[in-house]
């Protein structure tokens, strides 16, 4: 099993620090109006001159951070934020989903771009081609235009839609002719997915649709799923790690229900899982060496001995004191003078009431001393000698008052002594009985093993059934509407009713006779559902005894048959879904198993309802868009289905789209293969660059004068741009 798993285990990558590269040289571009291309993406900012082969690309995040160590304020962009751990929390992006909102951040991002390009002239003297979102809100466009024209003094600014440009790049017309391809562009972006039909080289933007589900939402969904599945995971899973997992392990299922049906079987689920190993820390167990252990043991022994010596000494002291007292008192007794009053006085000084008390004390002391002596000598309790009760047999009439008192005392003592002796005898009898029983059982076991085993198993089953019944009864009581709960309420009501006795009986003079019969009180046991009755504990004890006997002697009864393991058994499915590692397995508990999540997350593109987003999925949107065109146009559209954008690199996407489109089209219509952009992330920029080098580019931009006249929101209508507020 280990070999198969090691190929499945992947380690979370550690982030690497960015390297420093000097900014570009500006010399090549100075005083030439080479178009400047900026692909302003929600996740990455790509910028460069149109004559460059590929853009510089960096995550579109700004962080203004004041470093604590040297008290420096820093302005970091993109990857550089990884160098400062505190800067990550301060990161701001200009985009919020699909809408450009934060213009401070936008300004800083553009500053970075121009600094990297090495621009040192006053003002940007290049026509700029920038991307904006499909039908971007006018507010965003207005502020961007304002920034570009007023802050950076660009001569002209053109907006375009990135996916259309990517499509252009992959379906480039022969040089000289105008762009007139047809196709259906499915663009996967960070916070949305859009479908744009293109006819005759012009985007029919009124029929385009945007689904508010993109990489950002998918990553959040995956993170949520992992957090739900591993609620007690030792380390925190960050969204960066979640997006790494999304990119590497998730794919589209061509037929999602079929995939689910196969995963239902635990074996398949196990085979399809990917194990992600998170870093973990092995706690250092201080292993004391052998010497240390022996040293500690010796120390403890010494301490014990010292204590024992102390105890012995104190005992000796007490004994000596008692002996002294005894001697003193006996001397006193012997030196008793004839004068009674003097004797009484002496006694009272000592604290005794009369002669008898003195004698008592002396006797007690003697016994104590003797016992202590004996203990010291041989450390055993001496045999309880039967004390003598001489006065009991003597009839009352013969004794005087004192004697009667003595007799009563002695009777009590004898009764106590007899009771104790009886108890002792009973205990011994019980022990003998138990031994006899055990011997019998052993005999039975040896002679007739099967019967004995069968008998014990039956007992175990009955006890387990009783426990289950009890559990079921408890569950039924907790449910308000169950029959048991309603019966209980009826009982309570009848107990509390004022009319407990029927009218006839009351007339006859009978009163409420509840409690006369002992069985009546049993009703309170039933009512009090919360009490854990002692019966349960007895049952568990019995069960344990039986199981231990069976485990010892019956080879076929294993630990799996015990009650404990049966109740805590987890089904094979759950263990395949979320394997449990043992308590001490630190490496195992820092693992995440991805099985159903691999397809579940990508499936949300086709039904966002799974994740709570109330929107049509990709398949439905495609269907509704195609429905608005005529048959001829539809045919032209589906001949060339084009997918672009970073997330289009998920495996399985093309097959899935083909499988979604094929059923909704008439069978004779030719559905071309789904084409993916040659370079999904950079093709938009490349398309823009190649477009900027054509003549058409200069006709579609908004110049500075036009900006002054129209304001920031108007743009010129052309095939690659938006058409809201367009001239």
């Amino acid at each position: 099993m280990d070999e198969a798993e090691t190929s499945n285990i992947f380690y979370v990558p550690t982030p690497s620090l960015p390297s420093i590269t000097p900014p570009d040289s500006y010399d090549r571009f100075r005083s030439q109006s080479v178009p400047l291309i900026i692909d302003n993406g929600s996740s990455n900012l790509r910028f460069g001159f149109s004559t460059s082969a590929s853009p510089q690309s960096s995550p579109n995040v700004i962080a203004k951070y004041k470093e604590r160590k040297f008290n420096q304020s820093l302005l970091l962009f993109g990857d550089a934020i990884d160098t400062e751990s505190g800067a990550k929390s301060q990161g701001k992006t200009p985009w919020e989903g699909d809408v450009l909102l934060n213009f401070d951040a936008m300004e800083h991002a553009l500053d970075y771009a121009f600094v990297r390009l090495g621009i040192d002239a006053e003002g940007i003297d290049h026509p700029v081609l920038m991307t904006e979102r499909l039908c971007s809100p006018l507010h965003s466009r207005a502020l961007t235009s304002e920034l570009m024209f007023e802050q950076y003094s660009v001569p002209s600014l053109t907006y375009c839609v990135d996916s259309v440009m990517s499509f252009y790049h992959n379906n480039k017309p022969i040089s000289g002719s105008t762009f007139s391809a047809d196709g259906l562009v499915v663009s996967f972006n960070t916070a949305s997915t859009s479908v744009i039909p293109i006819l005759n080289g012009k985007g029919v933007l009124s029929h385009a649709k945007r689904i508010p589900w993109g990489t950002q939402q998918s990553t959040e969904y995956l993170l949520k799923l992992i957090q739900l599945k591993y609620s007690s995971f030792p380390t925190r899973v960050t969204s960066v790690q979640a997006s790494w997992m999304l990119h590497n392990f998730c794919s589209f299922a061509t037929d999602y229900p079929a995939v689910l049906r196969s995963l239902k079987i635990p074996v398949n689920m196990r085979a399809a899982e990917r194990i992600i190993q998170f870093p973990f820390a092995i706690p250092v167990i201080e292993e004391k060496t052998e010497e240390e252990l022996t040293r500690i043991a010796e120390k403890r022994k010494e301490q014990g001995k010292k204590l024992q010596e102390l105890a012995a000494k104190s005992r000796m002291e007490k004994l000596a004191k008692k002996e002294n007292d005894l001697r003193y008192l006996t001397d006193l007794k012997e030196g008793k003078s004839e004068n009674k009053r003097e004797w009484m006085h002496v006694l009272q000084v000592e604290g005794f009431d009369d002669d008898a008390a003195l004698d008592e004390t002396i006797r007690k002391l003697e016994v104590d001393v003797k016992r202590a002596r004996k203990k010291d000598l041989d450390g055993q309790d001496d045999v309880i000698e039967e004390p003598s009760f001489p006065l009991i047999d003597v009839p009352d009439a013969d004794l005087d008052e004192e004697g009667i008192k003595e007799k009563k005392k002695q009777k009590l003592m004898k009764a106590g002594f007899d009771a104790r002796a009886r108890a002792r005898r009973e205990k011994e009898k019980e022990r003998e009985e138990k031994e006899a029983e055990e011997r019998r059982e052993e005999g039975e076991r040896e002679n007739n093993f099967d019967d004995w085993a069968a008998r014990l198993r039956r007992e175990q089953e009955t006890i387990m059934n009783k426990i289950k019944e009890r559990g079921r009864r408890k569950a039924a009581l907790s449910d308000r509407k169950s029959a048991a709960a309603q019966a209980r309420m009826k009982n309570i009501a009848s107990l509390a009713a004022d009319e407990r006795v029927s009218k006839k009986k009351r007339k006859a003079g009978a009163e409420d006779m509840f409690g006369a019969d002992d069985e009546d009180w049993q009703i309170y046991r039933k009512l009090n559902a919360a009490a854990v009755s002692s019966d349960e504990e007895d049952e568990f004890n019995q069960l344990r005894i039986i199981e231990s006997k069976l485990l010892m002697y019956d080879p076929t009864f294993t630990a799996q048959h015990t009650h404990a393991s049966i109740t805590s058994q987890r089904s094979a499915l759950i263990s395949a879904f979320r394997p449990q590692y043992e308590e001490g397995d630190i490496e195992g508990s820092a693992r995440i198993h991805l099985n159903t999540e691999r397809w579940r997350v990508c499936e949300t593109y086709f039904s966002p309802g799974m994740a709570g987003v109330d929107s049509a999925g990709l398949g439905e949107v495609l269907q509704s868009i195609l429905a608005r065109f005529t048959e001829a146009e539809k045919a032209r559209l589906v001949k060339n289905v084009f997918i672009t954008g970073g997330p289009s690199q998920f495996p399985g996407l093309q097959e899935r789209l083909y499988g979604t489109l094929r059923p909704i089209l008439p069978p004779e219509m030719h559905l071309g293969d789904i084409v993916r952009a040659a370079d999904p992330s950079l093709d938009a920029w490349k398309g823009m660059a190649s477009f900027a080098n054509t003549d058409e580019f200069h006709q579609v931009g908004v110049t500075a004068e036009e900006y002054q006249e129209w304001g920031a929101e108007r743009i010129k209508r052309w095939w690659g741009g938006n058409c809201n507020s367009a001239v």
Binding site: L101, I119, S136, S231, R261, S607, D614, S615, N724
Partner: protein
């Protein structure tokens, strides 16, 4: 005035020279000169960055106003009633804003997937509302705490009101 013809040096570490610049300081471009910025342009610093809700609300307003305006324009220009209708249709088609592009809610019947495992879920637990795949998953659900059950439901987008 920055000298022309020289390549821009890296963002220099100005000020303190008591320590070698760290990596992050070298990457910071806070102090790099930006001559391309127009010093005369003062950004309206009082303007707050509007949040998404206000921006979308503005868009909606603008769209409504625009539609009204166009309708009135067509009304005043059109002679024929049929022409008006056709042009209205055209007008409505042409206006495409950020909000109109948004995909409509789904009309297909929803498939039930298990909230815990992700497999198909024919059953629903009446107490918590979670969908589950089979009885072993149900055992798991029975032992969930109410907050955990609520988290599962929130992942699906169902936010139960206080029960």
């Amino acid at each position: 005035m920055p000298p022309k013809g020289t390549t821009r040096k890296k963002a220099a570490n100005d000020g303190s020279t008591t320590h070698t610049p760290t990596l992050s300081e070298q990457l910071s471009y806070l102090h790099s000169p930006r001559p391309f910025k127009n010093p005369n342009y003062t950004k309206n610093t009082n303007r707050r960055t509007k949040n998404l809700k206000t921006v979308l609300g503005q868009e909606r307003e603008k769209e409504r106003v625009e539609r009204e305006r166009r309708r009135q324009e067509r009304d005043s220009q059109a002679m024929d009633i049929d022409e008006v209708k056709k042009e209205l249709v055209e007008v409505n088609e042409e206006i495409s804003t950020y909000l109109s592009i948004e995909a409509p809610p789904s009309v297909l019947p929803q498939r039930h997937y298990c909230d815990i495992t992700g497999l198909e879920a024919p059953y629903t637990d009446p107490r918590t509302g979670l969908r589950y795949h089979d009885k072993s998953v149900y055992e798991l659900i029975k032992n969930l705490s109410p907050s955990a059950a609520k988290d599962y439901l929130a992942a699906r987008g169902v936010n139960p009101v206080v029960r």
